[in-house]
Subunit: 279 residues, 2 copies
């Protein structure tokens, strides 16, 4: 950070002026935000690190009260199992968090109040945007309405597509997805029921099917229209069976890692007050 | 830390498995432990960072209760104004901390209990040792018995020198220094009164005289015996007026930064349970 930082008995990535961010979860070892968010912040010239913070479930509320009082800590990211409980920590909620009922990012605003938002879905929109895909006016098929899928439904809806087709085997999840989309984008046509890939522009898999060694496709398929954009929210493997099929069919493909990068960029925008879509 | 860590969208010095250490102070921006302790831990192959933690005075006890509950946090360093208050956080105290009544390092022992010790003086002993100076049986003159000076008196005493000559303009501080040395090393001859440099082997300045732009010497002097070792606890400037004189007179010189390096090595020994002098 300065010439003295090149001395042989000190590292150059942290000092007394470093601003702190944390990712809070239980367990914590599997998280990727420390290396990825810290990279993004450093790319932007910030003297900041995001550290893993392992808080046990029983300690959460009490621990957060003190952690949020650390004067050089400017923001927190939340992961499993805290995304819903963390809502109560925020004095203000973003548009996505308000309808989803969960946050994964919390920042200290200039007036000292804490503001929360969820970026699990906004990262998906950002990953598509970075691949030249604008969802406004398009037709989208979304598979899976768990935690990530519900946030993705909300983020897609905020782009006001022409149509959203939702699928989840759980009727309660499906009903909630329909309600969220209707609330955020009254002009969007909502369809539900069995998944299909005709008459849509963008296919998004937010189900866990295809993760790790799972060789299944998330829906019965042997062909995809080449005009389709296919995004898979799964990060491992990099190329899921669905994405492999999409590549063979000549579709535009957006990987889980691109969605994660998009999310991280949006989280850092949020943490630094650069949040064009407003909170 | 692994080949994947070379990817272009992540840093290689922190991840979900990184163990946390913190330095707690108010203010915090001036501290050097983040870059120096983190460097030392990485040199030893640890996946760990020490981050600055700015806790306001009024929040200290409550904040510490929660911070010490973070499951991947293994140790804390304390600086101004918390060294004395932090004693109450430790279930066990090291030999130095017990007599000095302050700690600057706290670690979580394998049984979950927290153990504290003060290294302000042990760093001085380590800096001398690294320069080939063993205090056992030697004659030492110590100038200044503030917080650092008192810790240095205790650390010197633990090496059982033949004689310690103490000087401080404050009679209460001087009396406490005498009492600490007598307690830790009953066989050491203790002298007090005006500073002198004849009949001693090692001169240690722990007074603030000579810091930054202060061009004074900590005692009236125009010559030093070449046989003397001179240590100045001041870090800035690197060469204080006293050390400049000592160099001109052909003395062995030990700088504040060497003492700081020695302290950091001892703190990391302590944090990792490698503490040969026992706690």
């Amino acid at each position: 950070m300065n010439p003295a930082a090149q001395a042989s008995d000190q590292v150059d990535f942290i000092d007394g002026k470093t601003r702190l961010y944390g990712i809070v979860g239980d367990p914590i070892e599997q998280v990727r935000s420390p290396e990825m968010v810290t990279w993004e912040m450093r790319e932007r010239g910030m003297n900041a690190v995001l550290v893993p913070v392992h808080v046990r479930e029983a300690d959460f509320e009490q621990a957060m009260a003190s952690v949020m009082n650390i004067a050089n800590l400017d923001g927190l990211v939340f992961t499993i199992p805290f995304k819903a409980r963390a809502v109560a920590l925020a004095k203000r909620l973003g548009a996505q968090a308000s309808v989803v009922g969960a946050i994964n990012a919390l920042r200290r605003d200039p007036d000292g109040q804490w503001c929360g938002e969820i970026f699990d879905g906004l990262g998906c929109v950002e990953g598509l945007r970075r691949n030249g895909v604008d969802l406004n006016g398009r037709r989208v098929m979304l598979l899976g309405l768990g935690g990530a899928g519900t946030a993705i439904a909300a983020a897609i809806a905020s782009q006001h597509p022409a149509l959203i087709r939702l699928h989840d085997p759980d009727p309660a999840r499906l009903a909630r997805g329909v309600q969220i989309v209707a609330q955020l984008s009254p002009g969007t046509v909502i369809k539900q029921g069995l998944p299909r890939v005709d008459s849509i522009d963008v296919l998004i898999n937010a189900s866990p099917v295809g993760m790790l060694d799972d060789e299944r496709l998330p829906m019965p398929l042997d062909q995809l229209p080449a005009s389709l954009t296919v995004l898979d929210a799964i990060v491992k493997p990099e190329t899921t069976p669905l994405l492999a099929l999409a590549e063979r069919c000549g579709c535009r493909v957006v990987r889980g890692r691109e969605m994660m990068r998009g999310q991280i960029a949006r989280i850092v925008d949020f943490m630094t007050g650069l949040d064009p879509n407003g909170v």
